[in-house]
Subunit: 389 residues, 2 copies
């Protein structure tokens, strides 16, 4: 158990309070991250239907997993065994049969089928098929979109969570240091990622690393115009830039970082663009403190870009914490003009400037924690364009 | 472009023929693997809404991605630029706004809003929210579940695809060899995965590796009862078994493999159970040939287990090929009693025996190709319980 039982109970209470406010009596939380947050469950089993089920008055959530994963739930969750609900293997890939048929049965058995039921309508893996099973199976329930109710409960981190993120950050630094060392002309991209992955898993002697919820992103050359490209077996080329976006992970907590490296002689346009980007990031970071909003941070960031006449349409940050594939964003706070989320102590976000200009781009980012009076960075790694001549 | 334009055109034709048979005029294919299969698109952008759109009479599919990924689509797909449809960044995490609002607009603009539209209802990432956007936005469309129409088109592999899987298999062998070398008493699990990942990315001098659609699974000790657990920073312990499940990946094609290693002195129960499992796998492999069904393979497998009085409820295989997180299964053929899918040449599947017994388990698997007269294994690696005394 990674957290005290008390911490898990506080999480449950926070979620139940929010459920009451929204008039939700039963919550089906399909989001992998939310399931981990509520129960401690941790396994690569999210490719088949699973969820946490929270009754507004329950002492514990239920953890709904397939039979093959029951052992994992007994090992990883803090729950009493009776609260691990196991569905049979004959629900796997035997459509139209579906695990949510069994979930519907469970809900009926417990006489919860007339309740107001919250569903995470846009959560990864909560498919249209799951939704139809619930709607058709529970015609007397009042179905509501619970939106990102549990995600919002995750926004402010506990000290224990911050501790895991700090460990993750040390691992991120190690991974980025390796990246800067191994990215050289003539080296295959895949080989560089092999070394980066090794660093990220080894972590430190104190904190081991884990698989990240996003693969090491490594767009290079023209690919720097497309931030989500991954490594191929092509070689790095002199004169080209490469963006590295990665995250160390510890106990599923992330502290992502993006940097850009240029192989060959200095390219003034890229250097200048990177410096303007860093100035904009710093302006945003300077506005990061309790009481300010995400919008305040975004306004400061874009004010610098406007000064330089740089157009950037995509948001420039999002909250972070627990992560499972395919994403390490929490889907709550956005660093974007108009997001009026108020920053509080221990809100953590990834402030990332993806700058794209036709067939090239540069990128830098920081994982940031809101402190009592301002903010601190999780990582300590120069943001400047790294030039390897 | 990884395949000839002709091969992409054949894929499209196969899908369009199947659409006609099912009375589907427009297909929204949200599945990441299907999108890659139909367009060549390849990036870690599936954490936000994206899809391939196939009109039953179109010359090319459309590739629907966010603005930040347009560059990636131009680089990776075989499509004309006009067939890359780009949605604005202001649709990202600004609910109730959603990229599918724009998709609905596109469909209306093209006057496709009264067509019979197929949706992949249970595809990973096709959320209930996407579905509601389509239903509410296109009230005159006839919505159908296209089920796994494109997945089924992927079942029989081309020679080029088989080539990529053979490269992936060589990488799998390298990864497993590393695993067997580095898993030792006192070694941290995460460090072992660091070495395994390095092997998997380096691949060979000819074929580089890529991120796998499932992380290296590494249940150990009691964890062997739970096949989807991943590495922690705990150390391997003398006397305990560890299951390794991994896949080499080349151009997104997978060839997975599972093996079990025991540290310390031989444990006769585990050795015997492993041998019985291998006998069952071999019986299934012997039934693998064109004309036989998945059921024939399953019957042969379970007949051996029945002989030994071993109970196993989960299926024992599934088709494989392209893979993106969270899964490398194709969601079509199942090696399971009652699955009457007929095997044909170049059907490929992962035959995996996950054997769980309360608080312990063993596992072995083979990636298999159906040949003209029988079958061949992609990998060449002993299946026996590997004992390191």
């Amino acid at each position: 158990m990674l957290f005290t039982k008390e911490e898990y109970k506080q999480r449950l209470k926070k979620v139940q309070t929010s459920m009451q406010e929204k008039g939700i009596e039963l919550l089906i939380s399909h989001d992998t991250n939310n399931m981990n947050y509520l129960t401690g469950y941790d396994a690569w089993s999210f490719y088949y239907a699973q969820c946490a089920i929270v009754h507004v008055n329950a002492e514990e959530p239920l953890c709904f997993v397939r039979a093959q994963d029951a052992g994992g739930a007994y090992i990883k969750t803090y729950l009493k065994n009776e609260n691990v609900i196991v569905y049979d293997e004959n629900y796997i890939h035997t459509w139209p049969k579906h695990p949510y048929d069994y979930l519907v049965e469970i809900i009926k058995e417990r006489k919860w089928d007339k309740l107001s039921i919250g569903l995470e309508m846009d959560a990864h893996y909560f498919t249209a098929f799951c939704y139809e099973k619930i709607k058709q199976g529970l015609p007397n329930a009042k179905i509501k979109d619970s939106e990102r109710l549990v995600n919002w409960a995750r926004l402010i981190k506990s000290d224990a969570e911050i501790g895991f993120m700090k460990s993750a950050a040390i691992i991120s630094q190690k991974g980025m240091k390796t990246a800067m060392e191994v990215i050289n002309p003539g080296v295959r991209q895949c080989d560089a990622v092999g070394e980066i992955q090794k660093s990220l898993f080894y972590g430190t002697s104190e904190f081991g690393g884990e698989y990240s919820s996003i693969a090491t992103l490594l767009p290079t050359g023209k690919g720097t115009s497309a931030s989500h490209l991954t490594a191929t077996q092509d070689k790095f080329v002199t004169g080209e830039a490469t963006i590295i976006e990665l995250s160390g992970v510890h106990n599923r907590y992330h502290a992502p970082m993006a940097r850009t490296v240029l192989l060959g002689k200095p390219d003034q346009l890229k250097i200048d663009t990177m410096n303007k980007t860093i100035e904009a990031l710093q302006a945003g970071i300077d506005q990061t403190k309790p009481g300010n909003t995400a919008d305040d941070v975004a306004q400061a960031f874009w004010k610098v870009l406007d000064k330089y006449g740089i157009e950037k349409k995509s948001r420039t940050g999002y909250s972070i914490g627990i992560g499972y594939p395919p994403d390490w964003g929490e889907h709550t706070l956005n660093i974007y003009k108009g997001d009026m989320t108020v920053l509080e102590k221990n809100v953590c976000f990834h402030m990332i400037a993806v700058m794209q200009f036709g067939d090239w781009g540069v990128e830098a980012s920081e994982a940031i924690r809101v402190t009592d009076n301002g903010s601190e960075l999780f990582c300590d790694f120069p943001k400047e364009l790294h030039i390897k001549s």
